[in-house]
């Protein structure tokens, strides 16, 4: 039994919700200032970077995995070619910013419709191509992307094999007192030492600004998708996932909802691509390969298929497993040879298999199980629900109308 029972709609529940969110936001901000410099952890003589550039890259992966959650996690279609749309978004944004001198945020207006369109277009054959075949086709699509951007006709837009670099940077606006905040944090006794010293360099300030923008963008994506999966279309796509035939029988238009969910997933993937190229300032054909598409699947599974917070964990996992294993030069008990090759990929492959066996719901489901031991959110009974009607079935009713927190508790 949980230690705290919170009933939805009460003031205690609201306090819990707002408290949790504010804590998160403060933590995210503090974190930005703490690692704005190239922060490093040292472990067995290896130093591991956790600086903001890497965090920013992982945010782009989080957004891409979020898109994957829609199509794989909620609609149940094995569309594995997210790197195609991620790459498309990255290249379109790079072209608009570098060659047409658009501001970064304005590229959203082009990337979202373009990726939505391409995604929906690929969604149309997917109405007939199902299951494993769809997985095969979409993996093929991901494998084709590097060749497409290196086509001669696209060379002047994409930069061909050499890739395309973008000079324009997101510059922190002068009205934002980043320096003031940094100085304030440094002046806190005892903890101040963790926030670097002196004023921020312009590079650090820009990084913090980028981070704040990307986090906001990611939050918006999460919020919109969170609403989507709770709404009527969200219930429709989940019904498609659970059983296509019965969904169609209950009046859900399969073609429409599948196409839309393909489009949304691809559009979000494109947004991830913008963040990627804005954070790294560079897009090259070698970045958006079939391997990246499979790494997104790793992120999806590690976080938890069909859970939105899973995308956060997944994005962090695929960035830092790859990053840290390549900066591990020595590790007790592991021969050096094993640390020099593609160790990160090996770890991710093994992780994928182990998680499928022992924690199929990913890390999020494990965390929810733990959380359910402490906090339990009891939903408001639906209108017209009287205890007398359902005295006999009250316990199962509670469990079935509850969210995952409740289910995993039983």
């Amino acid at each position: 039994m949980a230690r705290f029972n919170l009933v939805e709609g009460t003031s205690r529940y609201r306090a819990y919700k707002w408290g949790a969110w504010s804590l998160w936001i403060v933590a995210l901000l503090l974190f930005a200032f703490a690692v704005a410099d190239t922060a490093q952890l040292t472990f067995f003589d290896n130093s591991y970077n956790i600086g903001l550039p890497r965090i920013n890259k992982s945010i782009s992966f989080m957004i891409a995995i979020l898109g994957l959650q829609v199509i794989v996690g909620y609609t149940g279609q094995l569309a594995l070619g997210q790197s195609f749309f991620f790459g498309t978004g990255a290249y379109v944004a790079a072209y608009l910013v570098q060659d047409q001198h658009w501001p970064w945020l304005a590229t959203l207006l082009v990337v979202i419709p373009v990726c939505f369109g391409i995604g929906a277009l690929f969604g149309i054959p997917a109405l007939r191509i199902k299951g494993l075949y769809l997985a095969l086709v979409t993996l093929g699509l991901a494998a084709v992307f590097p060749a497409v951007v290196q086509l001669d006709v696209l060379d002047e837009y994409t930069g061909g094999a050499a890739g395309k670099s973008v000079d324009s940077d997101l510059i922190a606006p002068s009205w934002l007192p980043l320096d003031g905040i940094a100085n304030f944090l440094q002046s806190i006794p005892f903890f101040g030492q963790y926030f670097g010293d002196g004023d921020l360099t312009s590079k650090e300030a820009n990084r913090i600004w980028q981070y704040m923008l990307f986090v906001t963008l990611a939050f918006v994506c999460f919020w919109l998708l969170g609403n989507l999966v709770k709404s009527r279309p969200g219930r429709a796509i989940r019904a498609i996932r659970d059983n296509e035939t019965s969904a169609a029988v209950s009046g859900i238009q399969l073609a429409r909802y599948k196409t839309i969910s393909f489009g949304i997933s691809s559009a979000i993937g494109g947004v991830g691509g913008i963040v990627y190229v804005a954070a790294l300032g560079f897009a090259s054909p070698g970045d958006f390969t079939q391997l990246l598409a499979i790494l997104f699947i790793v992120g999806l599974v590690v976080g938890g298929v069909g859970t939105l917070p899973g995308a956060v964990i997944g994005g962090l996992a695929i960035t830092f497993i790859a990053e840290w294993s390549s900066s591990t030069a020595e590790f007790p008990g592991v021969p050096e040879r094993w640390l020099q090759g593609p160790t990160g990929t090996l770890i991710m492959g093994v992780l994928l298999i182990i998680l499928t066996f022992f924690l199929p719901g990913g890390i999020v489901s494990g965390a929810r199980r733990l959380k359910a031991k402490v906090v339990r959110v009891v939903p408001i009974p639906p209108k017209g629900f009287t205890p007398a009607d359902s005295a006999a079935v009250q316990a199962p009713t509670l469990a079935t109308v509850g969210d995952n927190d409740l289910e995993s508790q039983n």
Binding site: G140, I294, P342, T345, G349, L352, I353
Partner: protein
């Protein structure tokens, strides 16, 4: 015309190797209704084992290939028993994830053990040209590859049609539940399918890299897998002969299209394969020779 024949001959050897890998995919599909995304990596790993046996242990190349196939078969059987059998075959997502995990793990394991520099594979076939028509030359390599494929298909047909385990395999792939009820031990039979597929895959990869223009490196099979999967889908995922014919079609299309259609550059041959795959799946989802699925509601 000479050029056309030359391109046909070029397509023949590629097509035959695609056919062999496709055959491996089809065997696994028949056993577990699963597309093994790790098949290419398994085959690549097997080819590396063959290379090590031949160069470092000094075995004659065909003995090395045979031992490599045996070892692959054992590995395939172990993978089936430990990683595939625990899951419900009708739920695709976990199985796809497992095979993708295998794809990553086997590929990077080969990268760690053998590094990424390309290696020359020992000659398996006589070199030189057997026939020449002006520009078109038919090399001994091509002839031997086609012969090998014919022999493999012949042996497989015998194995599946004339032996008890072959009969059991056909029964299980046609109806799992009924064959279980009639006393066939389903698990070992599926395991046999995986072992067979792994062995055929290793042979396919070895033949592919034995071509003088190819070299063995850990990433060699990533592209081949897409071609082979397309071949398997063209033939119908559950038809052995269809896989070979599909492989030939893909090999021919690849070599002829790149020659005669100027706006398709060479790098786009993979894209062509994907487009062919989509068209086949859209207009003939069960391929040329596959059995159309019947769904009962």
């Amino acid at each position: 015309m000479e050029l056309f024949i030359a391109r046909l001959f070029d397509g023949l050897s590629n097509g035959a190797t695609y056919g062999l890998i496709a055959l491996a995919l089809v065997i696994i599909y028949k056993a577990t209704t699963l597309i093994n995304f790790a098949q290419g990596e398994m085959a690549m790993f097997g080819a590396f084992v063959v290379l090590v046996l031949a160069t470092e242990r000094g075995l004659p190349i065909w003995v090395a290939v045979f031992v490599g196939m045996l070892l692959s078969a054992v590995a395939g059987a172990i993978i089936e028993r430990t990683l595939i059998r625990p899951f419900d075959p009708s739920d695709h997502l976990p199985l796809v994830i497992i095979t993708l995990g295998l794809f990553l793990a086997i590929g990077s394991l080969a990268g760690i053990i053998w590094r990424f520099d390309p290696r020359q594979f020992p000659r398996m076939f006589p070199s030189g040209n057997a026939l020449t028509f002006g520009l078109a030359t038919l090399s001994w390599y091509t002839i031997c590859v086609v012969l090998t494929v014919v022999v493999v298909v012949g042996l497989l047909t015998l194995l599946l049609n004339k032996t008890k385990i072959g009969l059991a395999f056909r029964a299980v792939s046609s109806n799992l539940e009924s064959s279980e009820l009639s006393g066939i031990r389903v698990g070992p039979t599926l395991q046999f399918g995986w072992a067979l597929a792994a062995a055929v895959g290793t042979l396919g990869a070895s033949i592919y890299v034995a071509d003088p223009v190819h070299q063995l490196e850990p990433t060699v099979m990533a592209r081949v897998l897409i071609f082979a999967a397309t071949a398997a889908a063209i033939g119908g995922l559950d038809s052995l002969g269809g896989a070979i014919i599909g492989g030939m079609i893909i090999g021919m299309v690849q070599s002829i299209l790149v020659q005669y259609v100027p706006f398709i550059p060479n790098e786009m041959s993979l894209a062509t394969a994907v487009v062919v795959l989509v068209l086949v799946l859209l207009y003939r989802p069960s391929g040329l020779f596959g059995t159309p699925p019947v769904e009962r509601v």
